[in-house]
Symmetry: C2
Subunit: 192 residues, 2 copies
């Protein structure tokens, strides 16, 4: 999507260690209209998969996921929680994922109330990098006996190899913008 | 808003200690379409205040805030972070708020990049209960030299007195649905 690509080039900041800061429209400040366009694009790709729920992880996956839901006639969004609130009662599905931007591991927790055997799940997240957050979400889908039907991300960092890691799930993987290189302080977008 | 009121009565669960669980459409699973209606309602009330940014706190305030932004011709949303990611560089505005659903205190952090003197800030959150999270956000607005123009919440728990606590800020306060009582395991909505 051209507008997203232009914004990544104009506003993305490389902080070193492969960390890309997109705080001006995705990860701290959010551009609702741009995210609506992103959601439309993802929805178009996966409408035919007939997801019954969209699964994401708090925090930054929530807005893209909700925009996909709006574009898909209101499929419910479930966001995996990283910190268990009092309102979340056990038992929960729980998986551990490494956090790229926190430098440690995080728990991802989903209540069985909102993830059922028979559900068809589309995973939507902000980044596809190493793929390990999405991998943890996919394992939760599997534990629940639900069917994973697709994986979507707003921004893919191709050079981190997440797409290959996720190939074992045998579902379509789509990113709205893909970065092929961030060396030398320069963001290079893939043509695809 | 009638649809929200009906959903709170049908799906809200009282967990004791004044905790209301609305995980089926707001706090774990999210109903995008219902939140769009909520956003429209809040936007209608505050359009005349001409906010330049909408401020909320992660996690559950983000969806209502983003829906207000969509309805308001794309005012940027900034969400205060509770856990500092690597991408968030110091200095930051930071305030402490008690967490109702975590049973402890949380930090709320906003980067000065996205909150400026001269900004007109509408605060949007999921709950208005004791008012202390919103109070912390209002102090951040003040520290930044920005102007608070209004406070909105999806659900107000009137009996926790947050509205009185926030009166000192001297701005309009609006909640889309208000609960007057939760004793005896029954949710009583206010007529207003």
């Amino acid at each position: 999507m051209e507008e997203l690509r232009a914004r990544i080039i104009a506003e993305g900041q490389i902080l070193g260690k492969g960390i890309l800061k997109i705080d001006s429209f995705l990860n701290h400040q959010v551009d609702a209209r741009l995210m609506e366009l992103v959601g439309n694009e993802i929805a178009e790709r996966f409408r035919g998969s007939n997801p019954t729920r969209i699964l994401t992880a708090e925090v930054s996956g929530i807005v893209p996921a909700i925009m996909v839901a709006l574009a898909m006639e209101n499929v419910p969004v479930v966001y995996a929680r990283k910190h268990k609130p009092i309102t979340m009662q056990e038992p929960v599905y729980i998986e551990v994922a490494p956090s790229h931007t926190k430098g440690s591991e995080v728990n991802l927790m989903v209540s069985p109330e909102f993830l059922k055997a028979g559900d068809r799940i589309l995973i939507v997240d902000d980044f596809l990098a190493s793929g390990r957050t999405i991998e943890a979400l996919a394992r939760i889908v599997q534990h629940a006996g639900a069917t994973l039907v697709g994986i979507a991300a707003v921004v893919e960092k191709i050079f981190e190899g997440g797409r290959d890691e996720l190939a074992q799930w045998n579902v379509p993987i789509f990113s709205v913008a893909a970065i092929s290189d961030m060396r030398d302080g320069k963001i290079v977008l893939s043509e695809n």
